[in-house]
Symmetry: C2
Subunit: 204 residues, 2 copies
């Protein structure tokens, strides 16, 4: 046999390069801080690779405009202006999603969450983004607003090369099972324990 020839080739239909660069499903869970922050840190890396980034925030109040959103959207503008990095879309649930203009569904968070997931399914099928961050998506899963089975099977069967990061406490075991990478953030110590309130630049 020629030197350097692998003795067995995995029967997975992938090239060596494809096998190395597989799209990842990552889950950041646990009660500690850093779940979302680490996800947005990954978005920085992805932007730098020229990836299309899609962020979907499922729970935080739409009134909050966190620093990461401002900066990542600014990086998205920079991409449009100079071609550096990749495009960035940031969508928040709140009272409906930014892609819908319908009033009336404002107060029904369950309905809004289900609509958000349907939109994400459409984007996964269309391979719109290279990295999708589903921030605090564990809660709609926990509360039955979206079907855990549907989420897991959709993610398992997503086409092409799409990284997905899901954040939030109490990730469903089936989601952990489907994940390639799962990290639990555990609080060892928090300033709230000493009666300190959240502050600008640290909490948002």
């Amino acid at each position: 046999m020629p030197q350097g020839q692998p003795t067995t080739v995995p029967d997975d239909g992938l090239t060596t390069r494809q096998r190395r660069n597989r799209p990842l499903l990552a889950v950041h869970t646990g009660d500690g801080k850093g779940k979302s922050t680490a996800a947005f840190g990954l978005a920085l890396r992805g932007w730098n690779q020229g990836w299309s980034i899609g962020v979907f925030q499922f729970v935080k109040s739409a009134k909050w405009r966190i620093g990461e959103q401002t900066v990542l959207e600014r990086l998205g503008e920079l991409h449009a202006q100079t071609g550096e990095g990749g495009p960035v879309e940031w969508h928040k649930m709140g009272s409906g999603w930014s892609w819908t203009r319908k009033s009336g569904d404002a107060d029904d968070h369950a309905e809004a969450a289900a609509q958000g997931w349907e939109e994400i399914k459409r984007r996964l099928a269309a391979q719109t983004h290279d990295l999708l961050i589903l921030d605090e998506f564990t809660y709609p899963m926990e509360w039955g607003w979206v079907s855990v089975d549907d989420v897991v099977s959709t993610l398992r069967e997503r086409p092409g090369f799409q990284h997905v990061v899901i954040t939030g406490r109490r990730a469903h075991p089936a989601l952990i099972e489907a994940a390639d990478l799962a990290t639990e953030m555990t609080k060892l110590k928090h300033p709230m324990d000493a009666g300190q309130k959240g502050q600008r630049g640290i909490e948002w």
Copy 2:
């Protein structure tokens, strides 16, 4: 007594606002992923607040140019060009630090780490930055390259309003004790477990 007057005022010499907005010492430790990524995510927020950001990487090979460095340095340029956000400095240890040009100290990591810490002490005393990230600084502490007592007392007594984030596994108990916020990242699942190698955009 007039309404709204606090019955007791803590004897700490701080205004209410100062007491709310206290500089934080945060530690990201544990064997899981996300320790550095979450720290760089905080840098995004800080940049957006107009903070001066100083990143000091103690262990990663100086050959690595991780995506976060490229993007945060780009944001620092943007600040210089447009006044948006804040300034960013990113220093890596490797063979000496970028602020030294001396040859000869290239191969002594212990010496380089000690020099890095001395520079950080000077900057803390001069209040050069609003947010300092000491990435993988737990290792020089663990290996005795810097004195744990010196680090902890310097951080406890740092003047003004400087947030400090320290990342790395096996954070020293005295560092956790001194921290306002400590999070442990624990691996639940990692793609390396399935034989997958690190890949661009995810690991760097």
